[in-house]
């Protein structure tokens, strides 16, 4: 605890990097996962292919994936972001698929019968109705990424993992504790905030 309390500004700065790393990755991940999830929910065959591939990617050990990506992209934050985007896909796509498949068919029937186009039905009815489940996926993905992002310090992407790796190298338990506690606190805070958001959109 002493390191954490005596170096609050350094821990704060690394926490900030961590938040940015996770936030950027999450937004980018959603850009891919939303359309993939919509396609997967619509077309069962393509859907199982998408879920299979994203599931397989998720099983790659994080260090191995980072090492692989470093070979292609080099060290640094962009490489870490790519890794986190890949990991988030399985959780996010599953959330979108589960959300859309769980939409009451009567809503879709009513929407089509009233004369909404397929796109209007998706955007105005299906996605809003699926939103709580989709947000559940976002929450789990966020907590997962907060934890995974600590490993990104290993490829010079910054964040709270920096403290953990420094601590390991210099045999400084205080640094390890500081980094771990801050990461855990961030994960809990994100979880609570997204739970609140889920609750707020539940109808």
């Amino acid at each position: 605890m002493t390191y954490l309390l005596s170096h609050l500004d350094r821990v704060g700065a690394l926490l900030g990097q961590h938040v940015v790393l996770v936030g950027v990755s999450l937004i980018l991940a959603l850009v891919f996962a939303l359309p993939l999830g919509v396609v997967a929910a619509r077309a069962p065959r393509t859907g199982s292919a998408i879920l299979g591939v994203t599931g397989a990617l998720y099983t790659i050990p994080s260090l191995a994936l980072l090492a692989l990506l470093v070979a292609v992209m080099g060290l640094g934050t962009p490489t870490a972001v790519v890794a986190l985007v890949i990991y988030a896909q399985m959780i996010l796509v599953r959330g979108v698929v589960a959300g859309l498949r769980g939409v009451d068919p009567a809503l879709v029937d009513a929407a089509r019968g009233l004369g909404l186009t397929a796109r209007q039905t998706l955007l105005r009815v299906e996605l809003p109705a699926a939103l709580p489940v989709v947000l559940g996926g976002v929450r789990i993905a966020t907590v997962t990424l907060v934890a995974l992002a600590t490993v990104a310090a290993w490829i010079d992407a910054g964040g709270l993992g920096t403290l953990i790796f420094e601590g390991l190298k210099t045999d400084n338990a205080q640094k390890i504790v500081a980094g771990s506690l801050a990461a855990a606190a961030l994960a809990i805070a994100a979880d609570l905030a997204l739970r609140a958001a889920e609750h707020a959109v539940k109808t």
Binding site: G113, V125, V201
Partner: protein, 264 residues
């Protein structure tokens, strides 16, 4: 029907629907004319094809043979969303959009049609009043805050919002209890009289059909087996199926059918 009638005539000509992999067609060669402003009830047991037939009118189901005409125009000649925006649609499960307020739900079609805000607001209040839900109390409610009966009233208001010429109702009151159902039946009869819309109403409930219909269309196994006024169907059932369907306690039913529903 009445002087302010704005209903359209619906013609089904040789309409058949055969679903993929089905041994027998769901609807078989149906010819039917529903005159403008009529309250027509498609009556029959579940699986007889009545919902499928209803859904050919707004093209939620495309017939495998035959033609559906509204006021003489083939529904296939119209853009499908544009067609549907001119036809009210009410289903048993209601299907109110849960994240919209009551007012937003009712406003869905007018908004799609690009009505201006003031006109939409006016129309929403007018409809809420006409289904006897106080606009000030109900406008901002969410569907989850409504009872089953209230939700279906809003469903009816949503279907009527853009002043459709035809209103399709698929077992709309089957999920509510008997008392609420009776009051909803009164409402829809009154609304029909007020707006003069052509109504096509699907039910398996003989009493409901007798109470509401100007014309009853009895269906069995994809065929129309008899069409006529409620009294005709009761007095002169076309065959054993119809006799059996309406026959139980026919005397009581005659009384129900003859009971004036409001001042019709």
């Amino acid at each position: 029907m009445n002087e302010t009638s704005r209903g359209a005539q619906v013609d089904l000509r040789g309409v058949s629907v055969r679903y993929a992999n089905a041994a027998t067609p769901a609807v078989h060669d149906v010819d039917l004319t529903i005159e403008a402003g009529t309250f027509a009830v498609l009556l029959g047991p579940s699986g007889c094809g009545k919902s499928t037939l209803l859904r050919t009118i707004n093209r939620l189901v495309e017939p495998t043979a035959g033609t559906v005409l509204i006021d003489g125009g083939d529904v296939r000649d119209r853009e499908v969303t544009e067609l549907r925006r001119g036809i009210g649609y009410v289903i048993q499960a209601v299907g109110l959009f849960p994240h919209y307020t009551v007012a937003q739900n009712i406003a869905v079609v007018p908004q799609l049609l690009g009505w201006d805000r003031a006109r939409i607001e006016r129309r929403v209040d007018e409809l809420l009043a006409s289904i006897r839900l106080d606009p000030a109390t109900y406008r901002e409610r969410k569907p989850r805050e409504l009872s089953g009966g209230e939700a279906q009233r809003v469903g009816v208001a949503r279907a009527l919002a853009a002043e459709p010429q035809v209103l399709l109702m698929d077992e709309p009151f089957a999920a509510v209890d008997a008392i609420v159902r009776a009051s909803l039946q009164d409402e829809i009869a009154r609304v029909h009289q007020e707006f003069g819309t052509t109504v096509v109403f699907v039910t398996h409930d003989v009493d409901e059909a007798l109470r509401l219909a100007d014309r009853i269309v009895v269906m069995h196994a994809g065929h129309v087996v008899q069409t006529g006024a409620p009294a005709d169907i009761l007095e002169h059932p076309a065959d054993d199926f119809v006799r059996h369907l309406v026959g139980v306690d026919a005397q009581t039913r005659r009384l129900v059918a003859e009971r004036p529903l409001i001042d019709r």
